[in-house]
Amino acid sequence: MAASAVSNPSQLLPLELVDKCIGSRIHIVMKSDKEIVGTLLGFDDFVSIFLWKFKAITPEGRRITKLDQILLNGNNITMLVPGGEGPEV
């Protein structure tokens, strides 16, 4: 019985979920304590994220930086929360 490389089709593929989020708010949690909330413009195969009108939040220092556009390197991304607002500040 060969294990199929294609997963059960009725499940939700992670990158499909990210794709559905394009144009909406997304909250991104990095490996470190940094988090980012913004509007998702797009992503690539390596899940580098292209964001617009976003805020970078560091919960330790509570510093909030607001910027217009950013290309975020996918190297340090741990979690993506579609529609998330980020930690309460």
Partner: protein, 116 residues
């Protein structure tokens, strides 16, 4: 000394030999719709109901709870948790996946009492 040059010749003919299928060593389909606990590089931990995954180990978790670490001791978990809801976990960041039930924390067996 001319050793080590002979290894390159056989690599060309991969087509007929083993067809490399992308088979995972861990079959996550048995965890679908079950609650799993995930640990990440950098020390974050979360648990949630597995809703989907791909061969790169990206995960979709529903009803996700993140377990917060103690700010003083980065490796100690506190009672603090926060709700994240439906999240995508990056497979490149995942270091451990286990079922939520049947696992429990024990006192650190490696700590040695240091005096002075």
């Amino acid at each position: 000394s001319g050793g080590g040059g002979g290894g390159g010749g056989g690599a060309g003919k991969m087509a007929d030999k083993e067809k490399k299928k992308k088979e995972s060593i861990l079959d996550l389909s048995k965890y679908i719709d079950k609650t799993i606990r995930v640990k990440f590089q950098g020390g974050r931990e979360a648990s949630g109901v597995l809703k989907g995954f791909d061969p790169l180990l990206n995960l979709v978790l529903d009803g996700t709870i993140e377990y917060m670490r103690d700010p003083d001791d980065q490796f100690k978990l506190t009672e603090d948790t926060r709700q994240l809801g439906l999240v995508v976990c990056r497979g490149t960041s995942v270091v451990l996946i286990c079922p939520q039930d049947g696992m429990e924390a024990i006192p650190n067996p490696f700590i040695q009492q240091q005096d002075g």
